[in-house]
Amino acid sequence: MTVDASRGAEAPPELVQLLTPEGERVEHPDYDIDLTPEEVRELYRDLVLVRRIDMEAVALQRQGELGIWASLLGQEAAQIGSARALADSDMAFPTYREHGVAWCRGVDPLYLLGLFRGVSNGGWDPADHNFHLYTIVIGAQALHAVGYAMGVQRDGADAATIVYFGDGATSQGDVNEAFIWASVFNAPVVFFCQNNQWAISEPLEKQSRIPLYRRASGFGFPGIRVDGNDVFACLAVTRQALRNAREGQGPTLIEAFTYRMGAHTTSDDPTRYRVAGELEAWKLKDPIERVKAYLFRNQHADQDFFDAVDAEAGRLGREVRKRCLELPDPNPLDIFEHVYAEPNALLAEEREQFAAYLASFEGGES
């Protein structure tokens, strides 16, 4: 058996792929997908729009409008493919980079920008979109997802749960504990690991000596590796795993083999650690270009369509920018809001004192 933890552009052997980087449909013995041209065009549109939101956010950060931003560049197919496999009733638990999943769940991108701008810590209601809050502490949400799935299971609901995390996160105790719980309780949960090859500066070899999807077998459930830059394959594999979960067959670990094309966050400097040429090799596997090539190749879309999507992306980008700049700073007394469900005397006192303190400046300025 080969131990393959390579980051290179060569596709490792055990990878489910349905669409080549050149945009050619290929068959896989276990996975297939039947998409109408219209559905493929929709996926393409999603990919382009979330990339555009991401680009705009990176630009806004560079201009000092966001404190920091975690770019999804390169991971669009993994996110759109997996998220479009979800039913409305399925619940998703993200990390801090799942802007594409958020998009598919109908979360206004302004919430994400607001979080990174520092005006809120999220602020959306997870129940509105079946999309949980972003989680910054690495791996913590894996356990929440399993617990949620156990609740779904108890309720006899026809739903599954999906949890997103990175390759680095697989080292955390919480993620390993989540694997154990999911396995022994046969929880209806899909672990979706976006292996983008890096945890900040640390390559995959610093987390694992075996391909990540093979971890699952040691915990007693199936693991599968999918071409994370292939939106068809991500959709097909996730659909199947969610179906298995809903049908009572328990958890699956999906390793989406992909690449972080940008920096870890806008505060990171990848030139310090990234091997030259790696990025160039991965650019050839761009998740958007291959869908475009497929649509062209099969004459499912013409130039007008691509122009229209580009124009829509432009409009979306401008709108996101405008609304971001209009985001007001929170009121200082908001610090005390929503800390407890029940009234709290200590907080009420601190709030009152702080309000009086602030007022002393407004009145007392000479």
């Binding site: 979080l115 680095g168 500066s201």
Partner: protein
Amino acid sequence: MTTLTLAKALNEGLRKAMEDDPKVLIMGEDVGKLGGVFRVTDGLQKDFGESRVIDTPLAESGIIGTAIGLALRGYRPVCEIQFDGFVFPAADQIITQLAKMPLRSLGKVKLPVVVRIPCGGGIGAVEHHSESPEAYFTHTGGLRVVACSNPVDGYHMVQQAIRSDDPVVFFEPKRRYWDKAEVDKDAAPLPMGRGRVVRPGADVTVLTYGPMVKTCLEAANAVEGERSIEVVDLRSLSPLDTELVFDSVRRTGRCVVAHEAPMYNGLGAEIAARVTEACFYHLESPVLRVGGFSTPYPPSRLEDHYLPDLDRVLDAVDRTFAF
């Protein structure tokens, strides 16, 4: 004398400790090629190799737990926790194991492990990147807890922490990493367990540490001539240099404790209680505290309100004169 930022001073302190003792190891996430997210370990892996500067898997409990094992084997690991909010996955290892094993062995086991934690707010980060977790650790017997506030202390204290046979939780104020000062590497350093009067004064003592030392000095300077504020940098949070503290408060008769962490059940509460007990007949007014609110750290656009600034310190100072 060389002029160093706090980050660079810590870097040079670590380098010196590694040169002096081959048993010193550095371990943590991204400490190698990247040099740590704050570059405190910059260049160390290049010069000391991957077996002494270890990029660990992304697992804080693992970092501290394996450091304990390495220490049992005679090494002196210096663990970097990337950000304050990420020490909690390691809290079990620190609190239930690191702090207690020496006692359980009746002193036969020594655990010279240093846990470096960039702490506090003021850099505009997202949640979990601006915590002040010192009270959790000062509440645990068996740990030494120290906080540096300037490049001179950064350089010396990190070496002292590494030389200490006790486990040390070492706080570094991240918003002060880029502050510069002249560092005399040859001058005899103050022992790690001692506090220091960083600005003498006659009317009121302000006790503080870490990131707030600079803020309190600014407050003292701002009212120079009107009020004479003595600023004490506690440096050692556990054990506390009570002698220095009591001596200062007995001279000035007034006391304010300032920190970034929430006031409720914070270090300030402990210090205020002790000062009240020991200096009761010297006090002109109650000991007052300045700190964060009893809420989670707010989104960064509000941190200027959450973090005590010069005005909040002066407000408390004024109140001690109003009694």
